[in-house]
Amino acid sequence: MNNPIEMIQPDAETQARFEKIAQGLKKRHAASRRLKTYGIMAIVTAISFLAILLTTIISNGYTAIQQTELQITLTIPAEKLQYDDGAIDPVKARNFNWNGLIKKAFLAEFPDVTAMLDQRALGEILSKNAGYDLRRLIEAKGSIPVGETKVWIKTSDDVDMLMKGRLDRNLDEAQRRLSNQQIGWIDSLVADDRIRLVFNDTFFTAADSREPESAGVLGATVGSVMALFVTVLLALPVAVMAAVYLEYFAPPGRVTDFIEVNINNLAAVPSIVFGLLGLAVFLGFFGMPRSAPLVGGMVLALMTLPTIIIATRASIRAVPTSIRDAALGLGASRMQAAIDHILPLAAPGILTGTIIGIAQALGETAPLIMIGMVAFIVDVPATLTDPATALPVQIYIWSDSAERAFYERSSLAIMVLLTFLITMNISAVLLRRKFEKKW
């Protein structure tokens, strides 16, 4: 076939039609490219929303990792706090006016400040909980330092904000939370190297407080962990049993259909409705305690149940029927096949689904508010029925507070929450990768 063959050309009419089509092509390809551009723009927009969201939170929250402290020189009157043998008397320690001690020592450093109002303004530099903090410090140490001691005391949240540059010095004095006079004092303290920013360990070791500098997420985190513990304990076994039933034992019919419809619908019911259920049934009807992680966990369990059931069914279905058939062929009963052979193989999938469900539950706020886990609670909960709050609810409470410092802490709490969520989701992904089987 080396000699080229004369090929026939289309007739004139056809040729004209093709030319006409060719003329319109440029426009049509442009329209197609435009559609592609819209798609890219949409994705870029969505991803930049995510970026803006995260940057805002990080840039607002990272400063909360530090806390401003102030150095004060004071002498602790050991004789008023000790037993005769020198050990600290807890009762005396509790009743001692630590705040007064600190304030007096602090005022003594500013001998020119004599007017009552000015002294009060000066005192506002210190944290309202400075006395409590000092007592805990001494108690933890177990001994009282003799003579003049230098201690670092937390400043009030306003000073903290000023030091972190979150309080605008150029603002009109009347609208500022610190007066010019106060700022002057603070500047002189800074010049003396008596103000420092240190790691804010309180944030990770305390529960809520009225004072931002004394507030932390530990109480809320423990509350969340307790609630999720209850959630897993209730939801996982029930979900697995329900899934096994639906996959292996459910006779086709109305009851089974109805169960399936219910599961699918529950997955789409707004979370606040589960909160109403918890309020009316668990609190109202059964009289369970308000604000308890136990009840929170129960509500979240009902909420995550559909998610885990659906995930479990999917992973049971992913186990090839040949394995079940082999087990049945060797004389195992259906129940034995399901429990001894299918569930172990489906376990990684079930676990992944559970982690994802729990991660969802960890972020839930509305149902917990409904059952009263929104209270102001200064203690870390110790049992499942203690009043508690949860991490997302803590974020909600703080973001509602007026103090700028709570805004910052709220952002840091969000970062803590997101860290938990990311860890959970990544472990779910890794788990899936590790156990992913190609049958």
Binding site: I5, Q9, P10, R17, F18, K20, I21, G24, L25, R28
Partner: protein
Amino acid sequence: MDTVVDMAKAIKIQAKDVNVFYGEKQALNNVSIDIEDRSVTAFIGPSGCGKSTFLRCFNRMNDVIPSCRVEGSIMMGDVDVNSLQTDPVLLRARIGMVFQKPNPFPKTIFENVAYGPRIHGLAQSKTELDDMVEDSLKKAGLWGEVADRLADQATGLSGGQQQRLCIARAIAVGPDVLLMDEPCSALDPIATSVIEELISELQQRFTILIVTHSMQQAARVSQKTAYFHLGTLVEYGDTKDVFTLPKNEQTEAYISGKIG
């Protein structure tokens, strides 16, 4: 390679040394063939022999598959099918295609046929479009059955009707070549015979390439037959010669049913 070309008819398409790869795997091996104008050429061979892949080379439908790579030249008149300069959109307007399974769009019968003229801007007015739809449906032998229900959903038609609708849809663009990829494999024998008659009529106007798994069908509708085996063109010639006096052992084995 031995190819017998009947010089009495003009050549519409000439394919030279076509190779197709799916990733690393080679699906077609140096296939060269001359297609005659206004005739039916059948591609036969056992499944997986590359006949459908080859068919999809003619209108660059393999472009849709990301891992697929086509080498060699396919000339249609002065159009180089495989050239980067050739716009596949224009190419596909010139070469219509009918698929294995009827795939009418989920629209009305009218809209299905009007689809091609609409996107290519072929009709100036509503009446012209109506005429084009009617004309195409008539050429596809479907007009009589659907004239009074053009506004019905196309998915409501029977399988055979759907396939003829797809043929009408392809004709409406006004191509001069029609590719048919096992157009009857999803149809019952009666619908099949209707389509086969239609193909014989369409041959007056179009150059038709048809992939078929049925040797009887190839024998009934085609003038030329190409036999493919494992990605190579084993034998190509007049249909009656291929079926009665196959030159190649493999062809003979296939035709006599020893391999399939």
